[in-house]
């Protein structure tokens, strides 16, 4: 953010405070007078939506923690007690559980917006990497949070994921024992997951502050990918972006409320209403929907360690993306070839999610039947195809395309297509 602050304290108190701790000035410069590109579309409201989700999760989580008992013997019953006995406990629990899903839905939309419009490209690399850190922390938080109700899926999901770390040679077993605090997932594991689940969101909040700071240094990206060049290109954040973000938030809340009040268990799994039993494994262990693509990548590789490495590698691709994409044009609005590959990438991620929710050997397309069993395309092979594309997109397609494609002409500034009625405008 270049230029100096235009804040002028109006009252004696605000003048006094401003010379001692210019916090009102900071708020004003960041969220009132902050120059925002005038052409942001609704995909840009998800930053505000994510902040709303984080706040909601923290408040509902702290409140739930007032009633939750993190011991293996009473966790399940304490959650049911919240649902039945605590005043509005059912509401707070469903807000928190569905809020986690909504939070991750919003973060995926936010990430895909960044991928499409090139928001990860210079000078926003650090902003993007901080976002990846937030995403990792969110996944860890969500995983540990799902263990807390101590249902069958909670327990066995924890078993599967913690066992993954045993894949590492030499140190694997020591790490899993250390993580479990015992010889298997049990009470010590639950207790420490509760402690960390409470801690991590505050770390997320801290990284979010850095993320917004980094954003304000470079300014927002915008659908054209062209930097603002003059005052004509921007509007002050309040009221223009504030009211648009607010509208986006309320639309998001309508979707959220539809789940919370009318179908609160739709995104969960029935097996998690069965109290955890270490001696009985559910027929079909599945993580929550937001982990399904990674679950598919994990199972795509026959080797356990290979699957773990590829799964973490998939997230790692995001971190190095700013240096993989060689294009000089930011926004895929002006990169028709890249846009095509982007949509295939989106489809591949959705396919991976679908594969993660199915048994590896189930058939996608059955071609025939033999005595040994059915023949055709099964989910493992579909996952492999989609995984191949996922990595090819980052490691081959984006680097090559940037050097070889022919982008459309990029407008000179944000205002010109807006005012001249640019027909190449495409959301």
């Amino acid at each position: 953010m270049s230029g100096h602050s235009t804040y002028e304290p109006k009252t004696a108190f605000t003048r006094w405070l401003d010379t001692r701790l210019p916090i009102v000035r900071l708020g004003y410069d960041s969220f009132v007078d902050y120059p925002t590109p005038r052409n942001l579309n609704y995909w840009w409201t998800f930053g505000g939506i994510l902040s709303l989700c984080l706040g909601l999760q923290i408040v509902s989580g702290v409140v739930l923690a007032m009633h939750y008992d993190p011991s293996a013997g009473h966790a399940f019953a304490s959650v049911e007690s919240i649902m039945r006995d605590v005043n509005y406990g059912w509401l707070i629990r469903y807000l928190h559980a569905n809020g986690a899903s909504m939070f991750l839905l919003a973060v995926y939309i936010h990430i895909f917006r960044g991928l499409y419009y090139g928001s990860y490209k210079a000078p926003r690399e650090v902003l993007w990497i901080l976002g990846c850190v937030i995403y990792l922390l969110m996944m860890a938080t969500a995983f540990m949070g799902y263990v807390l109700p101590w249902g069958q899926m909670s327990f066995h999901g924890a078993v599967v994921i913690t066992n993954l770390l045993g894949a590492f040679p030499v140190v694997g077993d020591a790490i899993t024992t250390w993580l479990w605090g015992g010889f298997a997932v049990d009470n010590p594991t639950l207790n420490r997951f509760f402690s960390l689940h409470y801690l991590l969101p505050f770390m997320i909040a801290g990284v979010v502050v850095l993320h917004i700071w980094a954003l304000h240094v470079t300014g927002q990206n915008n659908p054209t990918g062209v930097d603002p060049k003059s005052k004509a290109d921007t509007v002050p954040f309040t009221p223009y972006a504030t009211v648009k973000d607010g509208f986006g938030m309320v639309l998001f809340l309508i979707l959220f409320a539809a789940f919370v009040f009318f179908n609160p268990n739709a995104m969960g799994h029935a097996d998690n209403y069965i109290p955890a039993n270490p001696l009985v494994t559910p027929a079909h262990i599945v993580p929550e929907w937001y982990f399904l693509p990674f679950y598919a990548i994990l199972r795509a590789v026959p080797d356990k360690l290979g699957g773990v490495l590829l799964m973490f590698g998939a997230i790692g691709m995001l971190f190095i993306l700013p240096w993989l994409d060689t294009s000089k044009v930011r926004s895929m609005r002006y990169r028709p070839t890249a846009r095509l590959f982007f949509f295939i990438f989106l489809a591949a991620c959705l396919v991976l999610g679908w594969c993660g929710g199915n048994l590896p050997d189930d058939m996608v397309i059955k071609v025939g039947e033999t005595d040994a069993g059915p023949i055709g395309l099964n989910f493992v092979w579909l996952s492999r195809i989609a995984t191949f594309y996922y990595f090819a997109y980052f490691l081959v397609i984006l680097p090559v395309l940037g050097l070889r494609e022919k982008p459309l002409p990029v407008p000179e500034s944000i205002s010109s297509p807006v005012l001249a009625g640019d027909h190449s405008k495409k959301d």
Binding site: M1, S230, K231, T234, P236, T238, R330, L419
Partner: protein, 211 residues
């Protein structure tokens, strides 16, 4: 507003094919955005306090209050705590001249079966000088003088008084020496009030509901 001119990070962009058009576009842009630094108004809009904005902010405030109430109310006692808000007690368990201590709402409650002598001693002192004057009749239910049901927490700093101690044969609090008589009234020592009577009712001659 503070936005300087920024140069593109990736070098040159395709040149405008029509330089004149570019300049005209910039001029139109300049006249459209007539925002003054720092107030975010559009200058040609005279009534800043548009009703619609007030309505939207009011709706937001309403939503805030609406969502706040469940988060506040959840700290009130939950249904399972309220279920233990009252207990029933069988009085046949208490022999004459004895007391039983029951737990009610997390506190000790003395259920004392008074002898005739103890009742008489309490009535005799009805008008004696005491810090928190009450008659014996005010300390029990009508017709049930033998049953004294009191919260067993010393009104000084909360210790549990011992049964039968002190000069009056009522209770004695060992923490700071408060002495209660056989009607649970404070007679000596630092306690400011008599032992508290909880809400209770007789369901029958042998059963009482406390709370």
């Amino acid at each position: 507003m503070g936005t300087g001119v920024r140069s593109g990070p990736h070098g040159s962009f395709p040149n405008a094919s029509d330089g004149v058009r570019y300049r005209r576009v910039l001029k139109v842009a300049d006249t459209v955005v007539e925002t003054k630094p720092g107030d975010g108004h559009v200058a040609d809009d005279p009534s800043r306090r548009d009703f619609i904005h007030i309505a939207a902010v009011a709706a937001a405030a309403g939503a805030g209050v609406g969502i706040a109430w469940p988060f506040i109310d959840q700290m009130n006692p939950a249904a399972d705590t309220l279920a233990l808000a009252s207990i029933e007690f069988d009085l046949t368990k208490v022999a004459e001249g004895q007391q039983v201590v029951v737990k009610w709402r997390g506190k000790p409650v003395f259920v004392r079966n008074r002898t005739a002598k103890e009742i008489a001693a309490a009535v005799k002192d009805d008008h004696a000088e005491m810090r928190d004057p009450q008659t014996d009749a005010e300390r029990h239910k009508p017709g049930k003088a033998q049953w004294l049901i009191l919260v067993g927490t010393c009104t000084h700093l909360g210790c549990v008084p011992t049964f039968g101690g002190g000069d009056y044969g009522g209770w004695f609090c060992p923490c700071h020496g408060s002495v209660y008589d056989t009607a649970g009234r404070i007679r000596k020592g630092p306690a400011p009030k008599n032992l508290v009577m909880p809400d209770y009712a007789f369901l029958s001659d042998t059963k009482v509901k406390i709370g």
